[in-house]
Symmetry: C2
Subunit: 575 residues, 2 copies
């Protein structure tokens, strides 16, 4: 019969690497079937129970306790294994060849004054304290530790913004600064692509693919997965984007994220739009707007992001200055989009794309039922009406042949003081009206004039679908519509993107200006030197990359006893 | 004071073009402010009310009635306008120069025996009857009419499938057959791209963009927007796809649709996958799986679909034979996917992509909360567990450093008789385990062996993220994993696509085999001749394209009186 034995050690701190090594060593002892060595958190106790390594002593362990538990073939083997714990613990040897190990960050900073970086991988509950100290010393922070509270993250990033420092993390798995990998990092060729990632393995996957495609990177800046969530608000992401925008070596910027909070993602994208470099974006599960918009390229996945980035770096595109529509032309209160379509598919695609810009779009023929317009004859907020739908065409010609209903509706919408942009489609070809622009253009002039008389500005945009060989001739239709003051393109996507970006600008939330001191580019581009606190293997890796590194012989305050640590902390404050 | 006068005419049929012309003429009479001439449906009466053209007589009109209503400046102008109705109605002249006008389809077919096509644009309630007759005569049907019931559509398409004929529509706006446009159609260059569209203006937008990019099309086959909805089940779409697959002139096939029913879309995609040509797919609002998969390219919009099609036609890609995994290797009941990840972003992307293949995927860190795994230690159905999540790493090394938890879980999953595919990520580089494959490969061998011993087959797939310059060396890791029997790629997307396609094959619904007689390709490629029933302008357009056309002088059965028509129809059946 198998026997389970345990030992609980309180008030002692060991890092996770030590726990793992002990667990491995114990599993290999004779007669031992399985072993677990973990801190006594609820989650860990559940895992132990799941693999049948539990007894009442284990159940009673507290999060601060080190739990050692084994299942052995018999009582004797179990006892003998438990007796070996101390011996096995002392066997651990260091691979970091360092004569003197400072006990504190300050000591390490004195030893390596040019170090701009502190890597932190101590247990989560101690990590914020170490990071705060590093910022006080003016160092960038690579914060590998997870289980750090979001309040601590916000406060750390606030301090960092004031000081022009980067806090990568918490839970930042990887970063690559000037060719040196921090944390989990691959060896990636140097090259023209700068990456910002709220996505640890995302950064690794994209950069390894870039490397495999023969290109390389300048810097890969991690932010921690929570950076693009609501309360943190992209603090590190925006600072990283800013520094890569200024970096002359970075020709293309690539952004990767785990599923972000939509409004935070949009904030980042607004910032990206202002950069005069191609920016490739892959935010997992973000609703697509389009494949390309100004200097932005939207990738369908990480493979695609890597491929697009390499391609853009090899063939730098000519960036058209983004069409900054002067939204101040609109009167106060003008803010809605109205689409009056004759073509059903054009109307559907417009809905799909437009939602990426302005959220809900009502429609008489909606993609999702919940967006169904209550009354097709009455527009609401942002909406799209397909006048070619069955409801409009019983005993009545299709709107591609008969413009009358649309002209009536156009004038009606233009009188709505909340309407800013009206979109029409003009579909020519055999079967369609012989000269639709001859009727629509005067109506557009009238609609714009009426709005102007009422002290408003109305933007009318038109997708003109047809060819130069059509009986109506596309060019002549476009010329008539443009002469009437409409913005015209033969691409539905282009028109919707244009309209969408105007509406987004109008409805842009008053940006809470995130003010930060810009990161000094030189601290990224100069030879990296670093201080490591926590997992020794991270120091080993830096040394393997020939990076001057000091490993701190860190111990938790008050030996890991949190109550005592809190008392000490309060005493410091009052002293 | 404005005066409203109306006139209701019962039991007379006029086509929509006549109504429009009368309305226009009446609006232009002196003293008339506005005029409406429509059939008295509820929708039309609402529209009249909306534009202030209503009185009690109009309100009482029935769907079969022609409603003539005007608003005039005064009584005299109103009366004088109404008096002119008959005169204005007779003014209409025909542009179709045709000596003799057959009264029936049969008559027209005798006049033009080589006509393979019948265009139908009569009022919806009569359209199915005309289409049925056309099929009886062995003609392809272009059914422009809308307001046709879905039951009629299903029955027409069933007949068509038996006869090897195409029913494009109802509500099919456009088609282009061998350079000749039917209905609303643009003049598009001849070229190597064949298009099938459940999307009228979608077909126009994509083909005009193809033309603008300098390329052209073989055929553009419309199906009507409802063809990809559930009850119709892609009947016309599948027949069209089949004929384009056989057409030697068609080098690339492009599929466009308004938002389809997801399961019908998948049915079409399964069919497309079997074609040995590149197929570009743009189904609006369909959840993306990937950018490319075998011979399929997924476009982000209509612009992108056109651009991709032209590109593929210009540079024909080498089509790898699609990886048809022999799913018969699996035992009965094996059907689930289990992902055991160390990388969070890889896990998120896998969720996102996999849902495109198999629907709901449970996860401990789900993209959408509703897919949250109840207990991270217990897998359910298809699921993805990120073992690098905070819950697993309190006082425990990250799974990129320590493979123990994953190996335990791998063996656990492999014992589940419902599991078919297990996915792992192996992320190497600085900081990661010095040789993860050395531990994972034996575990994979063991897992596969145990499954085999239990009479099952287990497929293990691995994304290996890293570079040739990493300390562990990517190639050596991949080699070890492959030797253990795993399917390995360095692209997360590629691995998920591979796994997804296996799972899709396993879980493929027993296909209700849609049996149809293949369409005779020659009827599409030979010079088009057509019979037109309904809008005269469609005949005019065909003649303008130098297409032999006979226009039928069609009148509704029993003069449009539906009761009488039904009696006649029943009498015919019993005769």
């Amino acid at each position: 019969m198998a026997v389970i034995k345990s030992e609980i050690r309180s008030g002692i701190y060991y890092d996770s690497a030590v726990l793992m090594q002990l667990q491995r060593s114990m599993s290999q002892l004779e007669g031992v079937q399985d072993a677990g060595v973990v801190m006594g958190t609820e989650e860990n106790k559940e895992i132990l129970a799941h693999i049948d390594l539990v007894n009442s002593e284990v159940n009673a362990a507290k999060p601060d306790d080190m739990v050692i538990v084994i299942r052995a073939e018999n009582e004797a083997a179990a006892l003998s294994a438990i007796e070996k714990v101390d011996e096995l613990l002392t066997r651990k040897r260091s691979n970091v060849d360092q004569d003197y190990r400072p006990k504190s960050l300050e000591g390490a900073a004195d030893m390596l004054p040019d170090a701009s970086w502190v890597l932190i991988s101590v247990a989560g509950r101690f990590a914020a304290g170490v990071a705060r100290k590093a910022l006080e010393l003016g160092k960038h922070v690579f914060l590998f530790s997870d289980n750090v509270s979001v309040e601590d993250e916000i406060s750390l990033k606030k301090t960092a913004a004031e000081k022009g420092l980067l806090v990568m993390g918490p839970d930042c798995g990887t970063a690559m600064i000037s060719g040196i990998g921090l944390g989990f990092a691959n060896k990636i060729r140097k090259g023209p692509i700068g990456v910002v990632a709220a996505a640890g393995t995302g950064l690794q996957q994209v950069t390894t693919r870039i490397h495999q495609l023969g290109s390389g990177i300048t810097h890969g800046i991690g932010t921690g997965g929570r950076d693009l969530k609501d309360p943190v608000g992209a603090a590190t992401f925006l600072m990283a984007l800013d520094v890569l925008a200024r970096d002359p070596e970075t020709k293309v910027i690539t952004l990767v994220s785990k599923p972000p909070a939509p409004q935070v993602a949009e904030k980042v994208i607004r910032k990206a739009r202002q950069i005069n470099k191609p920016v490739v974006i892959n935010f997992i599960a973000r609703k697509p707007t389009s494949r390309q918009e100004g200097n932005l390229w939207f990738a369908t996945g990480m493979d695609d992001a890597a491929a697009l980035s390499v391609q853009l770096a090899q063939n730098p595109p000519e960036l058209k200055s983004t069409n900054q529509f002067p939204v101040e032309k609109f009167a106060k209160g003008q803010r809605y989009f109205r689409g009056l379509f004759s073509g059903g598919t054009l109307a559907y695609e417009a809905q799909f794309l437009l939602e990426g810009y302005i959220g809900r779009v009502w429609a008489n023929a909606p993609i999702n039922k919940e967006n169904k317009l209550k009354d097709s004859l009455k527009s609401e907020e942002n909406c799209i009406v397909d006048l070619g739908e069955d409801e409009f065409t019983v005993g009545r010609l299709h709107p591609m042949m008969d413009n009358e209903m649309r002209i009536r509706r156009l004038l009606e919408e233009s009188r709505d003081p909340e309407v800013a942009v009206i979109m029409l489609d003009v579909v020519i070809g055999f079967g369609s009206h012989p000269d639709p622009a001859s009727e629509l253009a005067p109506a557009i002039v009238k609609a714009k004039q009426e709005a102007e008389n009422a002290g408003r500005y109305l933007e009318v945009v038109v997708v003109a679908t047809g060819t130069d060989e059509d009986p109506q001739n596309l060019d002549s239709q476009v010329a008539q519509l443009r002469a009437a003051g409409a913005w015209v393109s033969s691409s539905n996507e282009e028109v919707v993107n244009y309209a969408g970006s105007i509406l987004r600008s109008i409805n842009q939330p008053a940006e809470e200006t995130f003010v930060f001191k810009p990161v000094d580019l030189e601290t990224l581009s100069r030879k990296l030197e670093a201080i490591n606190v926590g997992l020794e293997s991270f120091a080993e890796n830096l040394l393997a990359q020939e990076t001057p590194t000091v490993h701190v012989d860190w111990r938790p305050p008050a030996g890991g006893n949190e109550k005592l640590a809190n008392i000490l902390e309060r005493m410091k404050k009052f002293s």
